[in-house]
Amino acid sequence: MASRISTTMDAAAFVAPAGGGEPGTVGDIHASDPVITVRGGNVHYGETHALKNVSLDIGRNEVVALIGPSGCGKSTFIRCLNRMNDTIEGARVTGEFRLDGQDIYAPEMDVVMLRTRVGMVFQKPNPFAKSIYENVAYGPRIHGLARSRSELDDIVYGSLRRAGLLDEVKDRLDRPGTGLSGGQQQRLCIARAIAVNPEVILMDEPCSALDPIATARIEDLIDELSQNYAIAIVTHSMQQAARVSRRVAYFHLGMLVEVGATDKIFTNPSHRLTEDYVTGRFG
């Protein structure tokens, strides 16, 4: 109980860092070759201040894990990066969000184009009520990425292969995607996301609805995908964060408390809150 009280007090002190100026994130928020750069990002849902002055880079070919207790703003953060918060009534986003230097929230930024470049995988697998093939072909079709049926076939098969699903489903591509197992559905959703060839893939707790074996497969897949994509993954599992990510960002009450290399965060965190969380004292 005493530790919980002190935690809250720390967080309160954290809202207004001594000396004003820079937000008090501990660690290096920069990446060497950033795809995504966020500076002073804020999100309000109506009266709620869900994301408070967050700055973070996500580098090319890098997996960044976002961890923290429920309601700490990590999902809110990644939903800013492909503007999925636009679909939420009363959400207001301020601050600087850039993809390859372009302002994500600029009026001339087309949200449709943005989302083809920043793909997303959701917490619960959400295949469309279509065949497996059509699920993957959906994105390429609406964006006109394939000029012929054979090109489309190539994209679909390639995406399924990269998602590690092709061997399991190649005999039943015309069967509904909803008939697959949970883990297969989630890999189908990943295949669907990479079929439009994004630069960044956002994953919002992609394994929380899956069993350990399916989770292990997805984690292997994330590892492979990181050779071609920048990946931001929200997770509640610290083991998962440790296994798949190169860097870890710890969120607390809408603030980004600490960023650092994965092994440093888990073995030698600098901030008290981070230490409390990764050692399991709360969360």
Binding site: M84, V112, M120, F128, K130, Y138, V196
Partner: protein, 462 residues
Amino acid sequence: MQFSTLLLILCGLVVASFVLARRRAIATAGGYKGIRSLHSLPAYYGYFAAMWAAGPALLLLLLWSAASDPIIMGRVVEVLPEPYRSIQGPELDLVLNDVRVLAAGRGSGTEQQQALQGTAAHYQSLQAASRSLLATLAIFLALAGGLYAYRRINPRLQARNHVERVIRAVLVGASTIAVFTTLGILLSVVFEAARFFSRVPFHEFLFGMEWSPQTAIRADQVGSSGAFGAVPLFTGTLLISGVAMLVAVPIGLMIAIYLCEYAAPRVRALVKPVLEILAGIPTVVYGYFAAITMAPLLRELGQALGLQVASESALGVGLVMGVMIIPFVSSLSDDVINAVPQSLRDGSLALGATASETIKRVVLPAALPGIVGGVLLAISRAIGETMIVVMAAGLSARMTANPLEAVTTVTVQIVTLLVGDQEFDSSKTLAAFALGLVLFLVTLLLNVVALVVVRRYREQYE
């Protein structure tokens, strides 16, 4: 004793049973502190006793009121004065009716009533005896029932289970009333229709091309051949329903899409009640809107375009009926579109699909079975709709696919056949029941298919 007094006394007994039984339950448990040793809460023991007090007595009242009058009348017939002794059948009913009138003190002093004075007095005394016997028996039953339950109270008595069983029986009874009413309606139509089909062959009715239900009264009458081929009615119904669905389905669907996917909450909060108002307008009002506003409008429009439009055209009726059905389609579609999980929309939007692509390619396909179910329900509504077509559609059975001509429908013909003085033994009147049977079966079929389709769709996402 007055009937209302008896009811009041019974109510008092029931309440008393409740109070006493509840008190006894608490007492057997050794006061409020021992309540946990009772199987059920004390009030359940009260309800248990109250049910025993009320149930048998009410059952007796019900049976008595159904059976006592015929028995009493049987006794009255035996003491009728001489001239009336030998009367039978409907005439006897008239005489007995006079006895009743006299007994109620509303006699008008006709000769027959004078002669029946004595009988009426006898009838009155029998009634009084019956009433006091009933009162005695009912009060005795209530007392006995309450006492029986009271004696049975002990901590191990599963009063709650007894009470819940009775409540469940009452609920089951309520639902069977609906089922049996439907069955009764169906049977009454079936029997009359069977009488019709014994006069007019089945195939002639279903496949005959000519509808002219005037039957001859005299053998030498002209122009009343009596043809009962219902096909022109079916085609007329289909034509008008078709026009209605052409209006209702696209507009209703578009309203649903707009409300679910685009409308701001404030617009939604405004439009939905307005649609419900549209659904609440009595069909009579739609009827004269069709007859007085729509029909002349279409005729003038037709004249301007050089078209011949009948003043009772299927087009006008169908258009108005379509407007009537719009809220039906839109609210059913609204439900199924809302039932499509938000995660599917998110998934599509996150792939860079626009809102309209998401609706066309993800939401509508997922909602399609439900929408089809809703449309089927709407069709059955259109086919069975009566008031609009009675007021604004034609009477002559014409087989045509041209919506500018006047056609008639099954429901219009049923109304025309049954309105006014009718003999219930002519083919003309009985034809209405055959038409009703067809209508019933078709809408039943449509409803069943629609429900199956909707249910299958629901299972997909749960």
